[in-house]
């Protein structure tokens, strides 16, 4: 009787002792040690319970019931303390968490602004149904000049100072040869844009011996200059915004007739011609900036690719990518494009 009672008392006594020790346990390691000490296979509760078989049945029942109860209690106390410690740890972690430390970032890459702008422009034309075509940068005189209606010794050749490879081959001065190459291989209807590098024998603050152009053309039956204006207006609105005004001004290119320059309202001063009280530097106060050359494909060019100008007509346009990029990003110096300073490159993505 007394043995059972003693044992039950002893068992119940574990609760107070364990609770007190748990309260002092301040780490998960200490907590685990207590769990082993009290609840482990060789722990104190197990040691007490190992004495159960020696008791009278009634006592054993009481002691057993007490032991189970204590086991549950100790388990609950343990879990409670574990929770508390976990909460403490969480609180401590949150207190120490520094959201402002630098991240472990992969290296940042970037695309050259010329690539970005070329991509945007070609995307607009792809939406309109134009293909994107490319061709050689070293060209024959035939594709670069003659088929485009620049006869030999014609002053129009002076408009494009040329870098030659041989007498008959040269670095293309424009992407217009792609008009000829494409129309030679593809029967109308043809609509394409041709981006790429072009070369001129010219190098100063505003001219680079290499730069980028995009040529575009559409040849079909019944193509008019109104179609040209529609396509260019769509494109210029897509690139510079819907409020951009587009102006057509007569000009001259050997491979188009009529020829025009397309101007847009100045993107810097919104066409007002002045920035505050000063004259706008970009449009020099006119409110307009030249953006591209265009026109109806000259009948001689159509004839050069064996198309009957009475049956087919088409338009063509060409624009400088650097110029678009300079206007779009506010870049003032052409040379930056080819110096490849990463402090410049990193500004474009």
């Amino acid at each position: 009787m007394s043995g059972g009672h003693t044992l039950a008392t002893e068992i119940e006594g574990l609760v107070g002792e364990c609770e007190s020790l748990l309260g002092q346990a301040s780490s998960f390691e200490a907590l685990e040690a207590l769990r082993v000490e009290f609840l482990g296979r060789k722990g104190r509760l197990a040691a007490v319970m190992s004495r159960l078989p020696g008791l009278e049945p009634e006592e054993r029942r009481q002691a057993g019931a007490a032991a189970n109860k204590v086991k549950d209690t100790l388990g609950a106390l343990y879990l409670k303390r574990q929770d508390a410690l976990a909460r403490q740890a969480e609180t401590a972690m949150l207190a120490a968490f520094d959201a402002t430390l630098p991240g472990r970032a992969p290296a940042a890459g970037s695309l050259h602004p010329i690539t970005i702008v070329t991509g945007e422009i070609c995307t607009v034309f792809r939406e309109l149904g134009f293909d994107v075509v490319t061709g050689p940068e070293i060209e024959t005189d035939f594709y670069n000049f003659e088929a485009l209606n620049f006869p030999p010794e014609h002053p129009a050749r002076d408009m494009q100072d040329t870098l030659y490879i041989t007498d008959a081959t040269l670095l293309r001065t424009h992407t217009s040869p792609l008009q000829i190459r494409t129309l030679e291989s593809t029967a109308p209807p043809v609509a394409a844009v041709a981006p790429g590098k072009v070369y001129r024998r010219d190098s100063d603050l505003t001219h680079s011996p290499m730069f980028h152009q995009i040529e575009g053309f559409l040849v079909d039956r019944e193509v008019s200059m109104a179609d040209l204006r529609g396509v260019l207006t769509y494109f210029l609105h897509a690139i510079f915004g819907r409020d951009t005004r587009v102006r057509f001004r007569p000009s001259f290119f050997p491979f188009t007739e009529p020829s025009a320059e397309a101007d847009i309202s100045c993107v810097i001063c919104a066409g007002s011609g002045h920035a505050g009280t000063d004259t706008c530097r970009v449009c020099k106060g006119t409110g307009w900036v030249e953006i591209l050359g265009c026109g109806m494909i000259d009948p001689n060019v159509l004839a050069a690719v064996n198309l009957d100008p009475e049956e087919y007509s088409g338009f063509a346009f060409g624009l400088g990518v650097e110029r678009v990029a300079m206007l779009k990003y506010g870049i003032g110096d052409l040379r930056l494009f080819f110096e490849n300073d990463v402090r410049f490159l990193a500004q474009f993505a």
Partner: protein, 797 residues
């Protein structure tokens, strides 16, 4: 072309503002780039009458003048010019006026006498380079009147950019014609009356055109008894306003008519023309001739020369000769007015780098019938300004007479091409106003182009004219339907889109895109030990740094690296995707152009010091990028093999796929890297972008079913000599072909300190397709593998 508004008004009564004309000309295709105010610097200078002139009490060479400048007070002005005298009307800069030379007039005491202004010379007013004494103003000028007004100086001169097709607008008459058309104003004809005297010019000089293709027409007049001297003020000022330097009355007259009518002419000293003949013929190859600028030119057989009976006297259409030019002693003038073959003139002018006002116009074409008017106008002016007498008649020869160009314009077609609703009447009126003869024909207008419009040769040219005058800016915008042919459905494989994918990968992989010039210097390629034979030189390079097309991207990428190092950007991850060039005799362009993807890594691997280890990029970074490229584009993994040697990479690793060469990776030779200022290793890859694009375009992405049974993994540490490559061991494992082996990867690499061998830990994954493998099964396979591996390779396990 500089256009004087006053001069223009001699031909058409345009009374509007310069800006209005500028805007309208610009919208006609004659872009006005600037409006100049050539005499703005003297706008405050007034006329003054010298009332009295007395000697300065303290200085012999100075005078003290009382000058009436129209104000209430008569000014006292000290003047140093010898020619000042009472009664003269002179230009006076008042106190506070700033002259073109920057001098601001202040009240000052000159040798004790107060001077309240300055009497100006032509030099001080910017009218002449040198002058003797003060300028005298013509009679009738009131004291106090602004001299700009008194002399009818130009307020505005328009700088017009004339396109190569519009030779007719390289003159005041031509631009007046455009102005008259645009504003609906009348157009006056040039004054070309000439009074003739004495013997017939044709009896003094005979014109011979033995080579008719050089010169369709050559006409000349003779002026006897010309006194060579300064041309009159009005002519000098007008030339000054349009940027032409005054030389002498005879030469100024030719320049004046050049600017007025667009016809270049040349004045010879008749006394220096021998043999009584002028002949236009080709130069002999290597012939030497000194032009009037004093430069001896070496000629070729394509140059046209004007010769007299014994010698060449002018480089036709480009520049006269020093041996026959007008000089102070000249009395009799032979005035040439000819038309030359544009292509011949252009070739000569370009080859000699000698573009003159004359050659510029002859290259673009001049008005052949109009040349007679110009000749008469010029002869008359010479007589007027030099006191000479124009001889009767014209010495001339015509090799090919002018023939009118007859064209037809269908207004319906004009409407169709322009997308504008133009009336037939508008077309007729516009072309007439531009100088065409227009008659109505069936469904069309019969149009004869005027001789000064050499650009009007086809119907489309007339369509441009009516559109231009109507206003191209009035064309409405209409979006066309873009019709496509079924055969165009291959566009997805276009180079543009494939390159875009390569660039997108590179950006995602943390590389920055650069764009370098396609040309580099031969000395760059020498440094890279590139062979000479396949190089493509540029025939007329801008500089030695850009005289050869690049055969590889590395030189350009290293240049980009050098630029960055100079700016303190030492850790670089760069890429470029571009064409490289090699000679190819079989190509129509003589070149083979290949797409290349180039990568350069140098300096620290991580941009940020924390929380990253401070390590420099190495081979594994570069190779990892190459592996990542193939993996992320869904291409099979390529093989990487040490190459024996490479001109600028050491070590160099070849990248191949199924035996196909795809490029190289490696470290730039240290001496090359140092030449580009690199202080650390530079790792560089060049991959064949064309091959990558072909693989991408051909790639078919097929799904493989996921495995149904779990894998069993075993690590295997192989101890091998340093020179046994990791890939050799892995391939040896595969070659044993263990049952159910799915994957072998290198899990760890450890070289014990001082050991000659290294420990390669391989992680082998086994998996059966049809069941769950048991440990004993795998242990058995692995044991067999180990015994074969150690037998085939000099390795231990």
């Amino acid at each position: 072309m500089l256009l004087s508004l006053n001069w223009l008004r001699e031909f058409t009564p345009f009374e509007g503002e310069a800006q209005v004309l500028a805007d309208r000309l610009t919208m006609l295709g004659l872009e006005v780039e600037d409006i100049k105010r050539p005499f703005d610097g003297i706008k405050d200078v007034v006329a003054g009458r010298v009332l009295t002139r007395e000697k300065h009490p303290e200085a012999d060479k100075l005078s003290v003048c009382a000058v009436d400048v129209g104000g209430p007070e008569v000014l006292r002005i000290v003047c140093g010019a010898a020619n000042v005298a009472a009664g003269q009307t002179v230009p006076v800069a008042l106190i506070g006026t700033t002259l073109p030379n920057g001098l601001t007039i202040k009240k000052s005491a000159i040798r004790g006498v107060e001077s309240c202004g300055m009497i100006c010379s032509e030099t001080e007013l910017g009218f002449a380079e040198k002058s003797s004494g003060i300028m005298l103003l013509p009679d009738g000028v009131r004291p106090g009147q602004k001299i700009a007004q008194a002399l009818s100086l130009d307020e505005a001169v328009l700088e017009v950019s004339v396109t190569p097709n519009r030779a007719d607008c390289l003159s005041h008459l031509g631009l007046a014609r455009e102005t008259a058309t645009a504003f609906g104003l009348p157009l006056a004809s040039p004054r070309a009356a000439v009074s003739e005297h004495g013997p017939d010019a044709g009896s003094l000089i005979r014109i011979e055109l033995p080579e008719p293709d050089l010169c369709p027409v050559y006409q000349a007049r003779v002026i006897h008894g010309a006194a060579i001297g300064e041309s009159p003020l009005w002519m000098r000022l007008r030339l000054l306003a349009v940027g032409v330097r005054a030389i002498s009355n005879v030469v100024d007259c030719t320049n004046y008519v050049l600017m007025e009518l667009g016809q270049p002419q040349h004045a010879f000293d008749l006394a220096l023309i021998e043999g009584g003949v002028i002949r236009v013929s080709r130069a002999a190859e290597g012939q030497r001739f000194t032009t009037l600028d004093g430069v001896e030119r070496v000629l070729t057989a394509s140059d046209a020369l004007i010769c007299d009976g014994v010698k060449p006297v002018a480089l036709a259409g480009v520049m006269g000769g020093a041996n026959s030019e007008i000089n102070d002693a000249s009395r009799d003038v032979l005035l040439e007015c000819a038309v030359f073959n544009p292509a011949v003139i252009r070739k000569t002018a370009r080859r000699l780098g000698l573009s003159s006002e004359a050659s510029y116009r002859f290259e673009r074409g001049v008005d052949q019938p109009g040349s007679l008017t110009a000749l008469n106008r010029c002869a008359g002016l010479i007589a007027e300004t030099s006191g000479g007498r124009v001889l009767t008649g014209i010495a001339s020869a015509t090799a090919s007479p002018w023939t009118e160009t007859k064209l037809s314009l269908r207004p319906k077609r004009a409407r169709r091409i322009l997308g504008l609703e133009l009336t037939d009447e508008f077309c007729r009126k516009t072309l007439t106003s531009l100088g065409c003869r227009v008659e109505a024909a069936k469904d069309a207008l019969a149009v004869a182009a005027p001789p000064y419009r050499l650009d009007l040769t086809r119907e489309i040219d007339l369509i441009e004219e009516v559109g231009r005058v109507y206003g191209l800016d009035r064309i409405p915008a209409k979006l066309p339907k873009v019709a496509k042919d079924l055969s165009t459905a291959t566009a997805a494989a276009s180079e543009f889109l494939l390159w875009a994918r390569l660039r997108a990968w590179a950006k995602g992989a943390g590389l920055r895109e650069t764009i370098g010039y396609s040309f580099v210097g031969d000395k760059d390629l020498d440094l890279f030990a590139v062979e000479s034979a396949p190089r493509i030189p540029v025939a007329n390079p801008l500089s030695e740094d850009q005289n050869v097309m690049r055969p590889a991207l590395a030189p350009g990428l290293l240049l980009a690296m050098k630029n960055n190092i100079a700016q303190g950007n030492a850790s670089l991850r760069l890429f470029e995707l571009a064409k490289v060039f090699a000679k190819d005799a079989a190509s129509p362009t003589t070149a083979r152009e290949s797409g290349r993807l180039g990568i350069v890594l140098t300096g620290e691997r991580f941009a940020a010091p924390w929380p990253n280890p401070r390590e420099d990029a190495d081979y594994l970074d570069l190779k990892g990028l190459a592996e990542h490229l193939f993996a992320s584009l869904g291409l099979p993994a390529p093989a990487f093999e040490r190459a024996a040697e490479h001109p600028w990479l050491s070590p160099c690793v070849n990248v191949t796929l199924a035996g196909r060469d795809l490029g190289q990776l490696g470290r730039i030779l240290p001496e090359v890297a140092r030449a580009y200022h690199a202080r650390k290793d530079v790792w560089c890859a060049e991959l064949d972008a064309d091959a990558l694009c072909a693989l991408l375009a051909a790639r078919r992405n097929a799904f493989a079913a996921l495995p149904k049974f779990p894998p069993v993994r075993r690590d295997l540490t192989v101890i091998a000599a340093q020179d046994i490559g990791a890939q050799t061991v892995i391939e040896a494992v595969w070659s044993i072909n263990p049952k159910d082996l799915e994957e072998v990867i290198l899990a760890d690499l450890f070289t014990p300190e001082g050991a000659a061998q290294r420990n390669l830990t391989l992680r082998l994954t086994y998996r059966a397709k049809d069941k769950t493998l048991t440990d004993p099964e795998v242990d058995k396979t692995q044991a067999a593998l180990i015994s074969i591996l150690t037998a085939t390779l000099p390795v231990r396990v």
